[in-house]
């Protein structure tokens, strides 16, 4: 197990390095740069802009820019923001925490709803309850996330007691109830986007297992329905679902970046959008690396869960 973890950590480090190189190349290839708009300002001289470019290393070749960024990473700064005129890490630190609060809450809620709902739908397969749930699922799947978010915002405006943006009410910083209230809308939006995919996979995995002879054998031994579904079938159906869990971590993060912008959640999303618009390269690279790290962590977590959950994997290893 330790060897497996060390192997996965080494692979994650290589992935992060590769992604950072790719992000630097793509940002460098994109037209324009942070100081481009300054050139249009008649109050700023060309010499001043040139001096600023030299100061921030923008006049250097790509490998030198990358080496300069790597040195900054080794100091724990993750680069330097031109727009904020400060290292990137302090800017990103709290926003990453905010994004994690939103994403992990949505992840837990999605799975807590998807598992019983998918199991129930599989146990009622072919009946009207399953068909009605399937239709609802298809409707949610076909609705764009942005539309769901806007619909929820419109709902919040009508009911008035639901906050329509931000993470805390003024003067309520640190209040957990207030945080929970502000989480409702963005979490609902994320769950509504993720839930249909998860429910479909849970239902499909369960259907496969419910047809297995060992389920019929368990029924023959009088195993009650609840134990049959959750004690026998669900653990046997868990492998593809655990792999999906790893993927859902990454999917929810990318979804949350959009929802954060629409719902004004002070996470990585709005900062990334602003950095892209302002061509602040180090913030973009750091945000991309954070996404990669989150995605690979989901994959590593899924592998660990698989190792723990499936005796066949332990036996083979």
């Amino acid at each position: 197990m330790m060897r497996f973890l060390a192997n996965r950590l080494a692979r994650t480090a290589f992935t992060l390095l590769g992604v950072s190189v790719l992000a630097f190349i793509l940002i460098d290839l994109a037209p324009g740069e942070y100081f481009q708009d300054m050139r249009l300002n008649p109050q700023i001289s060309r010499e001043t802009v040139a001096a600023l470019r030299v100061e921030y290393g923008l006049d250097q070749a790509l490998p030198l820019k990358y080496a300069r960024w790597l040195r900054s990473v080794s100091r724990g700064e993750l680069g330097y923001s031109f727009a904020y005129n400060c290292p990137v890490w302090p800017l990103l630190e709290t926003r990453i925490a905010n994004t994690l609060i939103l994403t992990i809450t949505a992840l837990v809620c999605s799975w807590l709803i998807a598992i019983p709902l998918g199991v129930w739908m599989a146990s009622r397969a072919g009946r009207w309850e399953d068909r009605v749930s399937g239709l609802g699922n298809t409707f949610l799947l076909g609705t764009p996330d942005i539309l769901i978010a806007l619909g929820l915002l419109a709902f919040a405006l009508r009911v008035t007691w639901l906050p329509t943006g931000g993470m805390h009410a003024p003067l309520a910083d640190g209040n957990l109830n207030d945080l929970a209230l502000h989480l409702i809308l963005p979490v609902l939006a994320l769950v509504a986007g993720m839930l249909p995919i998860l429910v479909r996979h849970v239902r499909s995995a369960m259907l496969d297992v419910l047809r297995a002879p060992f389920i019929a054998a368990a029924r023959g031994h009088g195993v009650p329905r609840g134990r049959l579904l959750f004690g026998h079938a669900l653990p046997a159906a868990a492998n593809p679902l655990i792999s999906l869990f790893g993927l859902s971590v990454g999917v929810l993060l990318s979804g949350s970046l959009l929802i954060e912008v629409v719902m004004g959640w002070p996470g990585v999303g709005p900062l990334l959008l602003q950095a892209i618009l302002e061509r602040d390269p180090h913030i973009v690279v750091a945000a991309v690396l954070f996404s990669t790290l989150f995605l690979t962590s989901g994959s590593v977590l899924a592998d660990i869960f698989l190792y723990v959950a499936d005796p066949r994997i332990r036996v083979e290893s």
Binding site: G126, R131, A212, P213, F214, A216, A217, A218, R219, G220, H221, G222, V223, P224, R227, H232, P235, A236, D310, P311, R312, V315
Partner: protein
């Protein structure tokens, strides 16, 4: 008013009696064309004497496994009666059915698929006792180990998962799990298929021993004539969901119906019959 047709006959007590069992499966989903259905069983009658072994023969798709699943109460027949212990299982409410269902155990064609891969051997054998609410944890464990020993599984295998056992050991484990609730009827659905000759002989000997020790009645579904001749007292032949032949084993040598497997095979089958221990 239904009455129990099981009675003391010249041959002995009828333990399991199916009358006019029919089962049809509809193909496709809710948008499928009407009438697109398969008649798996068509008015099947079957009488199995207590302590005997009935062999169920027939080509693939003749309805053998459907009949087995209906008798084990894993499928609900569309019509017909299944009399066991004085009750019609096809009409019993679920609550009353559960204790009787445990007395008719089905051993599936592929034990590796019929044993939950997440459970250890000990968990697999002791779980039915837990479900039935019998004994303390220690008693259930002891009973499971006793049964494992009875079917020839050494105690050191108790913490192994089914995938870690050989084909023969899996069959023994499936038999132990089926026996743990002390059933009266064991339905063996191609239970020895895929085993090598030596293991097949060992398991069939074990089945004969268990029949004596546990007073079991077998319904044995098989394509293996050797096994049928070794185990069975009576034979029923199914074709397209209907019983086309039924009677003592010797009936196979002189089939009344042209659909019975060819006479040469039947003669061979009879010539290879060995005396039962």
């Amino acid at each position: 008013m239904l009455t129990d047709p099981s009675s003391q006959t010249a041959e002995g007590q009828v333990l399991l009696h199916a009358i006019g069992l029919s089962k049809r499966y509809t193909r496709g989903g809710w948008l499928a064309r009407r009438g697109s259905a398969v008649e798996a069983l068509r008015g099947v009658n079957l009488r199995i004497q207590a302590g005997s072994t009935m062999a169920l023969l027939g080509a693939s798709g003749s309805g053998k496994s459907t009949l087995a699943r209906c008798l084990a109460c894993l499928e609900e027949p569309d019509s017909g009666e299944i009399w066991f212990a004085g009750k019609d299982l096809a009409r019993l409410p679920r609550r009353e059915l559960a204790p009787l269902q445990r007395q008719i155990q089905l051993i599936f064609q592929e034990p590796s698929a019929s044993l939950n891969p997440r459970f250890t051997a000990l968990e697999l054998v002791s779980e039915p006792l837990l479900i039935a609410g019998r004994g303390t944890k220690g008693e259930r464990r002891a009973r499971a180990l006793d049964l494992m020993e009875l079917v020839g599984l050494p105690a050191h295998l108790r913490n192994r998962f089914a995938l870690e056992l050989s084909g023969g050991q899996r069959r023994r484990l499936a038999i132990a799990r089926a026996l743990v609730l002390e059933p009266k009827v064991l339905i063996l659905d191609e239970a020895l298929t895929g085993l090598d000759l030596s293991t097949r002989a060992q398991i069939s000997n074990l089945l004969l021993e268990l029949q004596e020790v546990c007073s079991l009645t077998y319904l044995c579904i098989s394509h293996d004539f050797d096994l049928v001749t070794r185990l069975a007292d009576e034979v029923t032949v199914l074709d397209e969901g209907k019983v086309i032949e039924s009677g003592a084993l010797e009936v196979m040598a002189d089939p009344h119906s042209p659909n019975v497997p060819n006479a040469t095979a039947a003669e061979l089958m009879l010539s290879s019959r060995v005396d039962r221990p």
